[in-house]
């Protein structure tokens, strides 16, 4: 009997609280939920911080959630945001498909939702995606590398580290690389396409295997800068990690613009890097949420044109490279 009374009392108290709950009075500070699939790489950490700084600058409260690579957890976190009746949601989806149910939930609650860096698959559900122009940035970066190769009048054997092809960003980067190299087919031959699924360990093993199978590889492009450490390790093991201008230098290019890439550029090991403009993307994402809330019509995709940083424009462009800022902050701390 006592047990029943305890349970009943608990439920009555909970019900009372539920029925008494009301919206807080007074002018309400805007709140935006920020849900990231992961903070595994420098790029995501930089993006997360940039969005929070942008929100702070605009006096908007940020509710943060990290799904730790679990799409189900991300769904629960987005539902929490909706229950909290946030003014908008910025999400980095786990993948293009699983985000659709979250977009639908946000649409049903009339809450604007913006996808950061990863667009959703084709759907009737309404969202705006702020994404880097992966194809164009990669193509320009690799074209720069190819031009450097052409200047040497040597033949090149190329390798690319490909990301998870379930991620449209990885597909864009792979296609940009392939199309750029195709134009220089007379001097560059692709001998290794290394699948990494965005996994550093797989990148290291794949790179080592590729260098063993093709010791003459002298042109490497990675679809993400976070894979530079394993690439460097594999190159060092093969005694091929040389500075630009040194005999045996392997032409190196990457994508993201992280602190490792910046340091490699400064040290003279990296030829070119395609940079996603984190500052542009975070500002555009926050602005898109506010515009959607105001009922403005926005395109389904807002493209970050990004830029290529290389030895020729390093000083000029370093200020815009997020990795350079991260590096400076790290040094300051």
């Amino acid at each position: 009997m006592n047990r029943l009374i305890t349970v009943a009392a608990g439920l009555v108290i909970a019900a009372l609280f539920l029925s008494c709950s009301s919206a807080p009075s007074g002018p309400k500070q805007m709140t935006i939920g920020v849900s990231f699939e992961t903070l595994q790489t420098e790029y995501w950490v930089a993006g997360f911080e940039a969005i929070k700084n942008e929100l702070k600058k605009r006096n908007i409260q940020a509710l943060e959630a990290i799904a730790d690579g679990d799409a189900n957890r991300q769904l629960e976190q987005v539902n929490n945001f909706i229950a909290r009746r946030v003014d908008g949601i910025i999400a980095v989806p786990k993948d293009a498909k699983t985000i659709i149910s979250m977009i639908k939930a946000a649409n049903a609650a009339n809450i604007p939702i913006v996808l950061y860096n990863r667009p959703a698959d084709q759907t009737d559900a309404k969202s705006v995606a702020v994404v880097a122009d992966n194809y164009a940035i990669t193509k320009t970066t690799v074209e720069y590398m190819c031009e450097q190769a052409k200047k040497t009048s040597k033949k090149y054997k190329a390798a690319i580290l490909i990301g998870d092809l379930g991620d449209i960003n990885a597909v864009g980067r792979r296609d940009g690389f392939e199309d750029a190299v195709k134009q220089y087919g007379d001097i560059i031959e692709i001998v290794a396409r290394i699948p990494t699924e965005w996994n550093g360990e797989k990148a290291r093993a794949g790179m080592t295997n590729a260098l063993q199978a093709h010791p003459d590889i002298n042109f490497i492009f990675t679809s993400s800068d976070f894979m530079f450490p394993p690439i460097i390790q594999a190159l060092k093991e093969a005694a091929k990690y040389k500075k630009i201008g040194e005999e045996g230098h392997v032409l190196l290019g990457g994508f993201d613009g992280d602190a490792t890439a910046y340091q490699m550029l400064v040290d003279g090991y990296l030829d070119a890097d395609g940079v996603q403009d984190v500052f542009f993307e975070s500002e555009a994402a926050v602005q898109a949420v506010l515009d959607m809330k105001d009922g403005k019509d926005l395109p389904a995709k807002i493209l970050d044109p990004g830029f290529v940083i290389h030895q020729g424009n390093l000083k000029e462009m370093a200020g815009k490279m997020w990795g350079a800022q991260v590096k400076k902050q790290t040094v300051r701390n």
Partner: protein
């Protein structure tokens, strides 16, 4: 002689009563439930939206699949074992089911039997993994920790290998509705969770199997001498755990409309934590369905409220870790007290 025995019994009762009095605040069957209510009341003024009907529905929706896995884990914990393979069972079941029914490429893609056959295959996968765990533990006398840890690695690897680490989409609407749909106004997931909870409650409290489970957990050797079929009981406990994980996988896969080889990979701490917070003992012999429901509610509410408070992910992880550690310490302390009394 009779007088002595009465005295002894009285003093026995007295000491148990004294110990119970000390333990009372922590051992009441509803202590975690009361704590959950208190926590909810305490946080409501500071957490906008926490006490809304929408959020209540959200909390219940979030807790249902977790509850089903935790109930299976509770059964195993009662025997004094542990099942670390539940998360991989969720992932492997999800992948097997999705591969059977996806779009046109699935084994039964497009067929009206795709969804029911996939559900059966998913449950079968869970049962087989559970049976393997139970058999390895009882036949080879291997520690449950090692057996289920290696099963976790194997099943997880198999799920990734089968799918080449890609998610599987285009699942039939009839299957997705198990995780997302509702019967009139009652969510299907709630119906499934209630059925599982009721079945396990009856099994634990009303059947011989239930009594054997507790006896095995208290003292397996003594139970065996008393005629309890310990090995069979342990095997069945792991099969139940596997079946529960597969059932949760059906709900998770349905609500995401996606079969994923990494589904539920990060919820192991929540599963074990919820059972232990509820009061199920890591030392075996103790555990109830109602306790696990309280534990799951508490852990889901903690997650939900801290998330809604806007606290950082890392802080939430620290708080959850601390709460689970506290519950485990409390369990060890209660266990020592129980042994002394």
């Amino acid at each position: 002689m009779m007088e002595d025995s009465k005295k002894q019994r009285r003093s026995g009762f007295a000491s148990v009563f004294e110990a119970k009095a000390i333990r009372n605040p922590f051992t009441s069957e509803y202590s975690i439930f009361c704590l959950t209510i208190l926590y909810f009341i305490a946080l409501t003024p500071f957490t906008p939206g926490l006490a809304s009907a929408e959020n209540a529905a959200n909390i219940f929706s979030n807790m249902l699949p977790l509850l089903i896995v935790a109930l299976g884990q509770t059964v195993v914990l009662i025997t004094g074992g542990i099942d670390l393979s539940v998360t991989s069972t969720i992932a492997l079941s999800s992948v097997i089911g999705a591969m059977m029914m996806t779009g046109e490429q699935g084994l039964l893609g497009g067929s009206r039997w795709a969804a029911p056959a996939a559900v059966i295959a998913m449950l079968l996968a869970g049962a087989v993994i559970g049976l393997f765990n139970g058999a390895a533990i009882t036949l080879f006398r291997m520690p449950a920790f090692i057996v289920t840890l290696t099963t976790m690695m194997f099943a997880s690897g198999l799920a990734i290998w089968l799918t080449e680490s890609k998610s599987i989409y285009n699942l039939p609407a009839s299957f997705n509705s198990i995780g997302k749909g509702s019967l009139f106004i009652v969510p299907n997931a709630l119906i499934v969770a209630v059925l599982v909870a009721l079945a396990l409650h009856v099994a634990l409290t009303q059947t011989l199997f239930g009594r054997w489970l507790y006896a095995t957990g208290h003292n397996a050797k003594a139970a065996e001498v008393s005629g309890v079929r310990v090995e069979r009981t342990v095997r069945l406990a792991y099969v139940i755990s596997g079946l529960c994980a597969a059932t949760a996988s059906i709900l998770y896969t349905g609500r995401m409309e996606t079969g994923s080889p990494v589904l539920g990979q990060r919820i192991l701490l929540d599963v074990i934590g919820a059972s232990v917070i509820g009061g199920t003992s890591l030392f075996g012999g103790k555990g109830k369905v109602i306790w696990t429901i309280s534990g799951v509610l508490f852990i889901t509410l903690t997650d939900n409220s801290l998330n809604m408070l806007g606290l950082s992910y890392f802080f939430i992880m620290m708080v959850k870790g601390a709460v689970i550690l506290l519950a485990a310490l409390l369990d060890a302390w209660r266990n020592r007290l129980f042994v002394r009394s």
